[in-house]
């Protein structure tokens, strides 16, 4: 009889189901007779099995058979979770809290390509230096030729290819197919990209990529000239914390670093291309990035919103040349506007989109609207006179209102989009408002309605599953939306796939699949349009 080198837990486990050979059983019995620790393990495993087997069975929902029948007959699945608003307003505490410490790892680079310590989990944003990129992205605009042969108005997109254990990210110019491969900063594999922002000079791309099984996002900045990358932060994609945006002059990148759980926090961080470093800007714990306002003389202006029952927004200002301020700019005499959340100012500074309503802190989604949430439009005249974006949606007694959503402007300062909007309470009609819909309007053309959603093309993949909306980017002239639509996968190890679809807002042309075509075998998106400022 061979002795065991260590406690034979695997045999103990297998013995519970009789899954042992005769030899294994004899060996285990002999060992158990002399090892009290393994007898404890056996006792614990046995109790555990009994408890699990004794859990109460839940009755089947009464309507399940009818739902299955309806689903089969209607050729589609029931509305999946990501299209249903219910659950968004649910508080979450304990498990998320436990998970936070392991999940929130904030790392940023010092921008010099220095040797680094490995990334480590931290319960709060930390200035720990992380794994280095292969080289620093070009920090300032240069006279060098534009990368990827890009011209203003072109569509670029990120593409994730390769096997699941060795994924590659590439940035592709849709027209010419010019491409640049992106180095991996080395703190984890690339996964689905969820957001992207092109710097105004067209030379740097910031993007958010999932971190595989964890579900958090890594914020990465890449040079499109040579594919060098830097990881700026790891964050949790809370509802209003997913935006990444370059300042109008392209020097600074703003993003939100959030944790989740009952004690989840959120603060705004900035990355400075000139110094190559990132730093936490706010320390409020409930701050979300909203948007850059046009520069005021030599000052950067950034609207930051604070999630509270009655939310407020504050205008952070700091001298452009001084770099990221070390003091919290919200701690001083910042302009404060009550009742305004996540204002998004048009490029010309004439209008803003923003949210109104009463908020509450959700353990997984951060601060979201719990009552009366509605997107608004206002002229930027200082009065914040709200005009609801939708003409045919009203806050209802049954809790009908938006919990959260995404807003976007086109560079024309006229065209805007509402998408990924989560409507709580009873829908106002079939799939309206639709969290998978993109509602496009123009300041010059009145409010949005259910007819404002351009045709996104079939929302059914080749396998028949409903697609899910990932990201929307509007072209500078407001004529086209680049819509990333994820394809549900059969399992954790399947290769991520998505459509990147060019959709004409006016329906002039049918939607066209870019990148992966009509039968994508990889993840393409998000798309970003080259702004008019490029080459200027």
């Amino acid at each position: 009889m061979r002795p065991f080198d260590s406690h034979p837990d695997e045999l103990i486990s297998a013995s519970l189901t009789g899954d042992l050979t005769d030899l294994e059983r004899r060996e285990l019995e002999a060992h158990l007779s002399s090892c009290p620790e393994c007898r404890d393990t056996l006792e614990a495993f046995s109790q555990q099995r009994q408890m699990l087997a004794g859990m109460r069975q839940s009755p089947l929902p009464r309507d399940l058979a009818a739902r299955v029948r309806t689903g089969i007959e209607s050729r589609r699945f029931a509305m999946p979770w990501y299209r249903r608003p219910s659950g968004w307003l649910t508080g979450v505490a304990s498990v998320a809290t436990v998970a936070v410490a392991a999940l929130l790892t904030v790392v940023f680079l010092n921008g010099r390509g220095n040797p680094t310590a490995p990334a480590s989990a931290s319960p709060s944003p930390s200035p720990t230096v992380s794994a280095a990129a292969s080289a620093s992205p070009s920090p300032v605009p240069t006279a060098a030729p534009l990368p990827l042969n890009m011209q203003a108005g072109d569509l670029l997109y990120v593409q994730l290819t390769g096997p699941i254990d060795d994924p590659k990210l590439t940035v592709i110019e849709a027209q010419s197919a010019a491409k640049v491969g992106l180095a991996n900063p080395g703190t984890g594999q690339y996964s689905e990209t969820k957001r992207a922002a092109l710097s105004p000079d067209g030379r740097a791309l910031a993007f958010a990529t999932e971190t595989g099984a964890k579900g958090s996002w890594r914020i990465v900045v890449a040079s499109l000239a040579n594919g060098a990358t830097k990881q700026l932060a790891e964050t949790w994609p809370v509802a209003f914390g997913r935006r990444i945006a370059w300042s109008p002059d392209g020097r600074y990148l703003a993003f939100t670093v959030a944790s989740v759980g009952a004690n989840g926090t959120s603060d705004v961080w900035l990355y400075d291309r000139t110094s190559g470093s990132a730093r936490q800007l706010t320390h409020a714990g409930n701050a979300y990035f909203a948007s850059w306002a046009p520069q005021n003389a030599d000052n950067e202006q950034l609207w930051v919103s604070l999630g509270e029952a009655n939310p407020v927004s504050q205008l952070a200002q700091f001298p452009t040349a001084a770099g990221i301020p070390s003091d919290d700019p919200l701690a001083g005499e910042a302009t404060t506007v009550a009742g305004v959340f996540a204002p998004l100012v048009s490029r010309d500074g004439q209008h803003a989109l923003y949210w109104t309503g009463t908020m509450s802190l959700d353990g997984t989604n951060g601060w979201i609207f719990s009552k009366g949430g509605m997107p608004q439009l206002t002229p930027m005249d200082g009065n914040w006179k709200a005009t609801p974006l939708f003409s045919d949606l009203t806050v209802g007694q049954g809790g009908e209102a938006f919990a959260s959503g995404e807003l976007s402007w086109a560079d024309d300062s006229d065209t805007y989009a509402v998408w990924g909007a989560n409507w709580a309470g009873t829908p106002e009609g079939n799939d309206y408002p639709d969290s998978n819909g993109v509602y496009v309007g123009r300041v010059s053309n009145g409010q949005l309605s259910r007819t404002s959603a351009p045709d996104l093309g079939t929302m059914t993949s080749s396998s028949g599953d409903a697609l899910y909306l990932v990201d929307v980017a509007l072209s500078p002239d407001g004529s086209t939306a680049a819509v990333t639509l994820g394809i549900p996968l059969p399992g954790d190890l399947a290769t991520p796939k998505s459509y990147l679809r060019a959709v004409t807002v006016n329906g002039d042309h049918p939607p066209a699949d870019v990148g992966g075509g009509a039968n994508p075998q990889q993840w393409s998106g998000p798309g970003v349009f080259v702004p008019a400022s490029v080459g200027g």
Binding site: A14, D19, Q48, S58, G71, E73, W81, T90, V92
Partner: protein, 193 residues
């Protein structure tokens, strides 16, 4: 086991392109639904910890099963076949919601007082169930999956391997790790030793 009757025949099926009145297909599906709908629902419920999500996933599982019915070679393999579809559908759902804690919605339900009258023991049982489910919800998905298949669904390592697409040896190893992890999680819930 409670079974649920399939409400009438499906009629014309635009998904499969089957002609109306394909009674052999329909009656086979009816049998599968009647036999497995409740076990699958409970299996998924253990996986995701929330009734609404479990209902959605169960619904999608049976729609997929209907579509793939022609791939089911023989009735003997129905159980592992339907559990495999349910497993993949649940993993897909968890993958899409992975930034949402699996127990999130259930926390809300758990805090609701049970309106049913009952003896003290029933309340105590419910409390233990809740704690076990919380511990389950904190396991890694593949640990949770194989543990539920083994100890709740009483599947052998070979059957679990068919469901999870793993070898017998790999399942044994995974199951051992899952039991160890579950032991620690149960201790956090004040259960076990």
């Amino acid at each position: 086991m409670q079974s649920m009757a399939w409400p009438q025949l499906l009629g014309a099926d635009p998904v499969m392109g089957e002609a109306p009145g394909n009674t052999a297909l329909e009656s086979r599906f009816e049998r599968i639904f009647a036999q497995f709908s409740e076990p699958i629902f409970n299996y998924v419920l253990r996986m995701v910890g929330d009734r609404d999500r479990a209902a959605d996933i169960t619904q999608d599982t049976f729609i997929k099963a209907y579509r793939k019915l022609d791939t089911l070679a023989d009735d003997a393999s129905t159980r592992s076949w339907i559990y495999r579809i349910a497993t993949n559908t649940a993993i897909d759902d968890m993958r899409r919601r992975r930034y949402v804690t699996p127990m999130g919605d259930d926390e809300r339900h758990n805090r609701r007082p049970d309106p049913r009258p009952g003896p003290e023991a029933q309340v105590l049982d419910a409390s233990i169930d809740e704690r076990i489910q919380r511990a389950l919800g904190r396991l890694r998905p593949n640990h949770r999956q194989c543990l539920v298949l083994s100890d709740v669904e009483d599947m052998s390592a070979t059957q679990i391997g068919e469901v999870m697409g793993m070898s017998h040896g790999a399942v044994r190893t995974l199951l051992c790790r899952a039991r160890g992890e579950m032991r620690r999680e149960l201790l956090q819930e004040g259960i076990g030793s």
